[in-house]
């Protein structure tokens, strides 16, 4: 860059040169004026001033020549300056000569006049040369300034461009470095964090150098998540368990208000979640009195396991449920709530009922079976003994039932049996028992009788009822019944004995021509 050189060129060459050129022209012009004045007025003193001017002018010549010698590149020829100086010196000599003739007294002969004329012409031409030198220097000066300006402008553009380029380069480099060292690792780390948050998967980062802060951060994060995963169960995991558990979960706070319910609870009770949260937990139970949540502060009773309670849905439907509850403590051991699990046991109850039915009743007719019958018989014996009342034990066997089975089929036979059971059931009071012993044998316990007369009346009624025909569609059949009767305590207080005698009495009735009854005749036996 020639900035400095150009400036210094201006400073070292053109400023002084311009000033020298102008000075020289001025000095020479002054010299002419003074000399002319002296010539015209004849005052030689005016011309003496010219000597001083002359010395100064010659000094200027020397300065200019020196500058030109020092800077040979400038477009001014040293020779032309030197020539000007020589011509100037010649002119000075002539001028000096003229000074001598300035006296008015001296007659200006044609010869002298010609010398003055010559001097005048020289002087004029010299003045022109001084002027032209000054003008040329000014032109060069202006050109130099112009060049300088242009260069400065170019330099400014160049510097501006360079600055922009450097700025751009710096930006690109910083961007690259930042991307490589910071943004990319951070993005990876962010992805890892997100991945961990979404899927619980953790990706082991690359080995980080001790100077790579982001890399170390990624490693630290990796360690942390690994530990976290090893030691904690995620909320999602717990939520999964809660959602997928079969029981209804109800979390109750110490004030007895529902804190949280799961989907099963919502479905079970038919409420919406907002209808349950912050409501009294008692809402869900029938007979709040019996409800274990009545006073949850009685911690002694906790935990409760599979307590049977009755629950109430939003529609008012009541269903049995197993209730389990345990206290939930916080870190410092303070109770923060109860975790209650309710399992609907309606089906369980039904099954239980069914099993019980199956165990104690006859499958075809629904009447008590042999087992239940003997149980009832024992109870009836005890009751009779305790209260001093009587009861009758009937043993029934259908007459001519086998032909029905054989001719009309077992289905009709079964229907007959069921109808018989139904007709018998309708003839007895609520506390009485009708049981089927198997085949076409039935037994009955008739409580609260006063005498065997009562038993006879009932037996007659039974025979009458069962004599009625059985009609199933277009099939109709008839049967009859033979009844053996024993009375308790009249005939004994041992179940097996009473049963046996009733059986015997039934056979007697069969022997007496069927479709009749026969009371056990202890006296007869005793008599015989």
């Amino acid at each position: 860059m020639g900035q400095y050189n150009r400036l210094s060129k201006l400073e070292e060459i053109w400023f002084p040169m311009a000033s020298l050129g102008t000075d020289m022209r001025h000095l020479f012009k002054t010299k002419i004026d003074r000399h002319e004045d002296a010539f015209l007025t004849g005052e030689k003193e005016l011309a003496t001033e010219f000597d001083t001017l002359n010395n100064v002018l010659l000094d200027k010549f020397s300065q200019m020549e020196e500058i030109i010698q020092r800077h040979p590149q400038i477009p001014l020829k040293l020779a032309s300056i030197q020539k000007l100086r020589e011509d100037y010196m010649v002119n000075i000599k002539l001028a000096k000569a003229i000074e001598n003739w300035m006296d008015e007294a001296v007659d200006l002969t044609p010869k002298l006049q010609r010398e003055i004329q010559q001097h005048g012409r020289q002087q004029r031409s010299l003045l022109e040369r001084f002027s032209s030198l000054d003008k040329n220097i000014s032109t060069y000066f202006i050109e130099a300034i112009q060049r300088n300006k242009t260069t400065t402008l170019h330099n400014t553009f160049f510097l501006g461009g360079l600055f922009l380029l450097v700025l751009l380069l710096a930006t690109v480099i910083i961007d690259k470095v930042a991307t490589r060292l910071l943004i990319t690792p951070l993005a990876t780390l962010k992805e890892n964090v997100r991945s961990f948050a979404m899927t619980q998967k953790i990706i082991e980062p690359e080995e980080a150098s001790p100077s790579d802060e982001v890399g170390l951060l990624a490693s630290a994060f990796y360690e942390m998540t690994k530990d976290l995963k090893a030691t904690t169960v995620s909320k999602r995991y717990v939520d999964n368990i809660i959602r997928n558990m079969s029981g209804a979960l109800v979390v109750v706070n110490p004030a007895g208000l529902i804190d949280k319910v799961n989907q099963q609870a919502i479905e079970l009770f038919g409420y919406e979640e907002k209808d349950l949260v912050d409501k009294e937990a008692a809402l869900l139970f029938v007979a709040a009195k019996a409800m274990p949540l009545k006073n949850i502060s009685q911690l002694a009773q906790w935990p409760l396991k599979n307590v049977e309670v009755n629950c109430c849905t939003r529609d008012g439907h009541i269903f049995p449920a197993h209730f389990s509850g345990s206290v939930m403590d916080n870190e410092v051991g303070k109770m923060v709530g109860l975790v209650c699990v309710l399992n609907d046991i309606t089906e369980l109850k039904d099954s239980e009922q069914k099993l019980k039915q199956m165990a104690l009743h006859d499958a075809l007719t629904g009447l008590a079976n042999r087992h239940l019958f003997f149980d009832r018989l024992d109870r009836a014996i005890h009751e009779a003994e305790r209260s001093g009342t009587k009861f009758a034990l009937f043993f029934l066997d259908l007459d001519k039932f086998k032909p029905i089975n054989d001719t009309l089929g077992h289905d009709i036979g079964d229907l007959v049996l069921k109808t018989v059971a139904s007709r018998l059931q309708n003839l007895v009071r609520a506390g009485d028992t009708v049981a089927r012993m198997g085949g076409d044998e039935f037994t009955m316990i008739l409580n609260g009788l006063h005498s065997d007369q009562d038993a006879r009346k009932i037996a007659a009624k039974i025979i009458q009822r069962l004599a009625a025909p059985f009609t199933f569609g277009n099939i109709s059949c008839t049967t009859g019944v033979s009844i053996g009767m024993t009375m308790c305590p009249d005939h004994g207080q041992v179940a097996e004995q009473l049963f046996h005698w009733a059986d015997q009495a039934m056979y007697l009735a069969k022997n007496q021509g069927r479709n009749t009854y026969c009371l056990h005749q202890q006296s007869i036996l005793n008599l015989s």
Partner: protein, 147 residues
């Protein structure tokens, strides 16, 4: 200079000024402009005379150079310079010395009196000068100065 002459000159000048309304002053009776007797120029306007004697017009109509002859007869010279050139003799001298100093021209020829003028003029055809009106003879011819 005779006092009457001065008075008459002044009177004439005044009259001329009054009559002509400040126009060019006519040659007084003191001097006359003269040229070679063969010179065809019979009259010149005052302005042209002034130009010729100040070196501004240098050629006759036929193309020949005009040679000026200054008359060193002081009275006539001063009368001429003041009347025709509106300058003192010293001013005119400096005027011509300035021209000489610049190198443009040499000083005009100067002769000592009317006789010298007439004598030189008779031998140099392209000359012009001025003399006392009384000195006019056949050697030279007067050129009428018109306003």
């Amino acid at each position: 200079m005779h006092p009457l002459k001065i008075i008459s000159i002044l009177t004439a000048a005044l009259a001329a000024l009054l009559f002509l309304g400040g126009g060019p002053v006519c040659a007084g009776p003191d001097f006359i402009v003269v040229a070679h007797k063969d010179n065809p120029v019979k009259e010149l306007p005052a302005a042209q005379v002034k130009n010729i004697f100040l070196g501004k017009e240098r050629f006759w109509p036929d193309g020949s150079a005009i040679t000026l002859i200054m008359n060193k007869n002081d009275d006539i010279h001063e009368s001429f310079t003041r009347t025709m050139l509106q300058k003192s003799p010293a001013q005119l001298s400096v005027y011509w010395k300035k021209i000489l100093y610049s190198g443009a021209s040499m000083l005009p020829l100067a002769v000592k009196d009317d006789e010298a003028v007439k004598s030189y003029m008779s031998q140099h055809k392209n000359t012009i000068s001025y003399i006392d009106a009384d000195s006019l003879d056949k050697q030279v011819r007067q050129v009428e100065v018109t306003p």
